[in-house]
């Protein structure tokens, strides 16, 4: 029983890391006022870049960095359109996702079926991994999962305990006031958008290097969209993002578990839908329950800044 629990828990955490990384990045971007619906596209691009550099070099660090940079590069495209050109952010983000989908499916063809060049295998942390249950669940994961663990409190401290965080939060509430304070809103938003892209790229790396090593077309399977939903669920708070991500991971793990033990109570395709359907359900509940969360939304989210306008 304990063993099964440890197993399900481990899979749950394992299945939540990509969403968590992408959510953290998107939180930073949205806090500064930039809505980027291109997470899915950036994640896919990151996954492909990671897999490709992995095959080419066999170097895990190079593969991970390449993935993050690929996501970041795409985010800068979004930044250029939405911050500099002040194009509608929803449109620009959607275009990014479509671009990512098309580009990766085209460029990724030669990689399909090749042996993955890098596998980030679970790396038990000496000592911590021996803790019963907890150790099995949390500390027999890949390096990128540990990176996510560290990034959660780091993002929180950044947002709530540093001057930069204050600037970011303020830019998301009232860009004109931040500009009047003598802070470069454009640079700030570009950097935050970039951070969002790096997060999504890392999430992609996690998928193609650790979760299911190797490249498969559309391998993100909508996790980018789940991440966008999780940002709202978390009320733009990095600590709460953990809960949302684990919820998604937990549901995914349960689905695997039922499949594995061969219970055919529910058809498999409905099980596979479960994480997404429940994510939507949770969102609806959270947002209808008193409307408190909506108050947490950055007031200037999605609104371009223009000094002379």
């Amino acid at each position: 029983m304990i063993e099964e629990l440890a197993f399900i828990g481990q899979i749950a955490v394992k299945s939540s890391i990509a969403v968590l990384l992408a959510t953290l990045g998107e939180i930073i971007a949205e806090r500064s006022g930039v809505l980027n619906l291109g997470v899915e596209g950036m994640m896919l691009t990151g996954a492909l870049a990671g897999a490709a550099v992995g095959v080419a070099t066999g170097n895990p660090v190079a593969a991970t960095v390449a993935a993050a940079l690929a996501g970041g590069l795409l985010a800068l495209v979004h930044g250029f359109f939405s911050i500099s050109l002040r194009v509608n952010q929803v449109l620009s983000g959607l275009a990014l996702t479509i671009l990512g989908l098309g580009l990766t499916s085209f460029l990724g063809r030669p990689l399909i079926g090749t042996r993955p060049g890098v596998r980030l295998a679970p790396w038990p942390i000496p000592g911590l991994a021996e803790i019963p249950l907890i150790g099995d669940i949390f500390f027999r994961q890949s390096v990128l999962a540990y990176l996510a663990y560290i990034l959660v409190p780091l993002c929180w401290v950044l947002l709530y305990r540093t001057r930069t965080g204050l600037k970011i939060r303020a830019a998301g509430e009232d860009a004109a006031a931040v500009d009047a304070a003598g802070i470069n809103v454009f640079r700030l938003r570009y950097l935050c958008t970039l951070a969002g892209g790096l997060g999504a790229g890392l999430a992609g790396a996690y998928l193609s290097l650790a979760y299911t090593p190797g490249w498969k077309e559309s391998m993100t399977g909508g996790q980018g969209w789940v991440a966008i939903a999780m940002v709202i669920f978390a009320g733009w708070n990095p600590l709460k993002a953990v809960i949302g991500a684990f919820l998604f991971g937990g549901l995914t793990a349960l689905q695997f578990y039922f499949q594995a033990i061969g219970i055919e109570l529910i058809p498999a395709y409905i099980l596979r839908m479960l994480p997404y359907v429940l994510t939507i359900a949770v969102m609806v509940l959270v947002n209808t329950g008193g409307g408190r969360r909506r108050g947490a939304s950055p007031a200037a989210l999605g609104v371009a800044f223009n000094r002379e306008g």
Partner: protein, 503 residues
């Protein structure tokens, strides 16, 4: 000026165009340390534009700015601030959900200083200049006067020594204005330079050392306040003729009661206190003013009467028909015209042109079958532009480009064109220059002949000039209603407004 110390700031030939409009035309001006400058001019004269150029928000198309003799070019507010020039805008630049301390820190965050000169030094600044405000309070919970103090603290914390204020008194109460002027004087005595824009001539006489007047983009006069003998002189400089804001008010000839309310309270479904037990009646042919210091419930009352927010309890009788409070706001009432205080968002749509804005509240009038009759609307708008001397980029220009005063005149003209039974005018002259104020006052008095007018204002002079009866609102209740003819009433109204006397 006999002895002239070196200028801390010198403008020469500053010019700024917005499309076809020349907002500033070859402006020369120099500012000295330890002086308070008042900048006057009609609506749309280009005052805000000029100040925004000094503060680095706009870049001039031509001309140079010299700071202590050195030529500077500001690409952003950051650069102006680094050069010691800070501005408090008409619309406060504070992040509402953050605390006072966070806002000040945000401002300091752009600076070079590493150390957190937070707590102690802010308190020290606050004491030194008499700017008391709780550092932990959220900005959204502060009064306008307190927000302004935060704005000043922000600039002082960045060691600004030229402080620019765009119509700082427009949103303040009498006591807050007196407090602000004391702060101005203390800052001046410390050697700082203050520039403030105002439309109130008595404020200029009260606090300014130097006066500059703009008209249609040009700087038309610069003089020492000591050389100005009276407000009449100033008015003549501003608009080219004498305006002393004395409108003739013939005695009222009240007709039938248009609106009567009793036991009114609201707004419904809000935790805000709002207003309670409001009772009054207003008849055709008279102006009833409801006067109060901002934030005493009159904003909620106006929104409730206009049907924008639901009323909680009470009864209303409008044109002989009786309503229970919760039913009142369900659908718009034929015969009520409303001039909201918030002219940028409630009263108009900035992105669409003047004609379309003019049609907004009278679509039925300008439609023929399914089509809008744009030509007739354009003609009506042109007539309004003519009658009220609305200046801006023309009928096809977006309303958002109009200066505050011109936009207000457009809204007023639109609402008068509806031939209302009841005209609800909320702060109709806030931010307007003397000429525009006079035009609005005359229009309201003129409208009195045909309508019942309910004037909601914080401006005592306005209430006294226009109203036949004045009701004073304090903490959501009407304390007393006083006949305006009664000249002994003025002192009593002041006391009532401040809550120092009960009704």
């Amino acid at each position: 000026m006999t002895s002239s110390p070196p200028a801390v700031l010198e403008l020469s030939g500053i010019t700024k165009h917005f499309g076809d409009i020349t907002a500033n035309r070859a402006i020369d001006w120099s500012l000295n340390a330890g002086r308070i400058y008042a900048l006057l001019g009609e609506n749309g004269a280009g005052k805000s534009t000029l100040m925004s150029i000094l503060a680095g928000r706009y870049q001039p198309d031509a001309g140079t700015i010299r700071r202590q003799g050195r030529t500077v070019r500001f690409q952003s507010p950051a650069q102006a601030l680094a050069a010691g020039i800070g501005m408090v805008y008409q619309r406060f630049m504070l992040v509402a959900p953050l605390s006072v301390a966070e806002n000040i820190r945000l401002h300091g965050a752009a600076g070079r200083s590493r150390s957190d000169r937070q707590g102690a030094s802010i308190r020290e600044l606050a004491v030194r200049y008499g700017l008391a405000v709780d550092p932990d309070a959220l900005v959204q919970d502060l009064s306008m006067g307190e927000r302004q103090r935060v704005e000043i603290l922000k600039l002082l914390n960045r060691r600004a020594d030229i402080l620019i204020f765009d119509e700082p008194t427009a949103v303040l109460t009498h006591t807050e204005i007196a407090g602000l002027f004391e702060v101005f004087q203390r800052l001046r005595d410390e050697g700082k330079t203050i520039v403030f824009i105002t439309h109130k001539l008595e404020e200029v006489m009260a606090v300014a050392d130097e006066i500059a007047v703009m008209r249609r983009g040009r700087m038309v006069a610069r003089l020492a306040a000591a050389d100005v003998r009276s407000q009449h002189d100033l008015a003549r400089l501003m608009v080219g003729r004498e305006i002393i804001l004395n409108v003739d008010k013939p005695p009222a000839a009240p007709g039938e009661t248009v609106l009567a309310v009793s036991g009114l309270s609201g707004p419904a479904g809000s935790s805000r206190p709002g207003f309670e037990e409001i009772a009054f009646e207003v008849r055709r042919g008279e102006i009833l003013a409801i006067i109060g210091v901002a934030g005493n419930g009159q904003e909620d009352l106006a929104a409730g009467l206009a049907g924008l927010t639901p009323l909680k309890t009470g009864r209303l009788t409008f044109k002989g028909r009786r309503w229970r409070a919760p039913q009142w706001g369900r659908k718009p009432h034929e015969g009520i015209a409303y001039i909201p205080a918030d002219r940028d968002r409630t009263a108009s749509v900035g992105a669409i042109d003047l004609v379309e804005n003019f049609m907004l509240t009278q679509l039925a009038v300008f439609s023929r079958a399914l089509r809008l009759d744009r030509r007739r609307a354009a003609a009506a708008t042109a007539a309004a532009v003519e009658r009220f001397a609305i200046r801006g980029g023309g009928l096809k220009a977006p309303a958002g480009n109009l200066s505050g005063g011109n936009l207000q005149k457009l809204v007023l003209a639109r609402e008068l064109a509806r031939h209302p039974d009841l005209l609800l005018a909320e702060q109709p002259t806030q931010g307007l220059d003397v000429r525009a104020t006079e035009a609005v006052w005359q229009a309201l008095l003129h409208q009195r002949a045909a309508s019942a007018v309910l004037l909601i204002t914080g401006d005592l002079k306005e209430a006294l000039s226009l109203a036949d009866r004045i009701a004073v609102i304090f903490r959501g209740r009407i304390l007393d209603t006083i006949a305006a003819r009664d000249s002994a009433a003025i002192d009593r109204i002041k006391l009532l407004m401040a809550g120092l006397e009960t009704g």
